[in-house]
Symmetry: C2
Subunit: 233 residues, 2 copies
């Protein structure tokens, strides 16, 4: 669902008066891509990387000149993806962490899949940005896995209390912002009304993708619109 939501988000947040003001999009949803977390955790030996690289090349071959990959976990080997891609690939992890810093974060809490936790993508990006990365404890991570795989991916209702408990855990560990670092979690932000301390990685990716394609954003939080304007490859 999150790539459908990503597409909707780009369309809704591009400043446009008519169809022709929108940006050209070519989108591949390869549902059969092996699960990223299952591969990273070792639960499966099916490597999603060749499929993802194949799709990126397919899109570039069909004329895409910038790639946005609305899956945080898929960035576990951004270097390999970026190297294999004939066109630039926006890095959702790096951008989201930089945006958190831009809003004043010093200790950023991260909600992600188990795959992203193990691959350490957010910890590395925070280190590079010079801010602290607060990750969930094992029970918080188990709760997130349950929310992502058993609720959202199955189009079932998310228990707000379960989500709140994870947020409270991160706040208790000192987080001053909370990154929704799995694009499935962005669907929670769509449904519930979350406060400004939440930073939605999908929104950051959408805003930067719109700007880098030469269009202007509308309707995003003001700091994000400002940040996206600064973004260059």
């Amino acid at each position: 669902m999150s790539s459908a939501y990503f597409y909707e988000m780009i369309t809704a947040h591009t400043r446009a008066e008519r169809d022709q003001d929108h940006i050209d999009i070519i989108l591949s949803s390869r549902a059969s891509t092996p699960d990223r977390t299952a591969f990273i955790t070792g639960a499966s030996t099916e490597d999603p990387l060749p499929v993802m690289i194949g799709e990126i090349c397919r899109l570039a071959g069909a004329g895409a000149d910038i790639i946005a990959l609305p899956c945080n976990t898929a960035h576990f080997n951004y270097h390999a993806i970026s190297k294999a891609s004939p066109v630039p690939v926006i890095n959702i992890i790096k951008l989201t962490v930089e945006y958190a810093k831009f809003t004043g974060a010093k200790r950023v809490g991260v909600m992600s899949t188990e795959g992203s936790f193990i691959s350490g993508v957010f910890a590395a990006a925070c280190r590079e940005a010079g801010i602290d990365c607060i990750e969930c404890l094992p029970d918080g991570r188990a709760a997130l896995t349950d929310i992502i795989y058993n609720s959202i991916k199955r189009s079932k209702k998310v228990d707000p209390a379960a989500f709140e408990r994870v947020a409270d855990q991160l706040a208790g560990l000192g987080a001053d912002r909370i990154i929704l670092g799995c694009t499935e979690l962005s669907l929670i932000k769509k449904e519930f009304c979350l406060s400004d301390i939440y930073i939605d990685s999908l929104e950051v990716l959408a805003a930067c993708a719109i700007e880098v394609c030469g269009s202007s954003t509308t309707g995003f939080p003001a700091p994000l619109e400002k940040f996206a304007k600064l973004y260059r490859f």
Copy 2:
């Protein structure tokens, strides 16, 4: 917005327990495609057909083996599109009219763009299906143009009263069903709660696309799920 909604609709209505149960989708949103109605009415000389055929070939080249075109007006020259496409193109107009008949319609009202009215696509499909086609009078058509171009395409709120007046006109002319025959109007069905007499062309296209790709639908009206199972090229 309607192609984003179409993608969301396919994802939400495919019976799936995990990502890998979804169908593979490759989607091109060529925002720069010339306006279909402007060309049909003669307000513009920019022919959208070459762009649309180019995009269809691009998708087929990137591996698509079935094309769904979520724009009713674009079907003004379905024959040319179908002939130029290397792979089958689902005909939203024909399917929607056949589905209306399947639900028992004898006199079907049509809400469409001015382009579809002038090209006569719904009238022709109804003739072929052996049911009556009720189209709006000039003031109803002007109201629809206003709703589609000045509200929906600009992401502005639709005035429910204006929409109701058009529906009342069709009912007054004897329509027993009302086809939402412009995919922008499907967004109204998403927002307002419309009764069963409305037939959403975008839902018909989505249901048939899911079935023809070998998956099963979920959450559509029961007659539509039954109809989509019967659909073959």
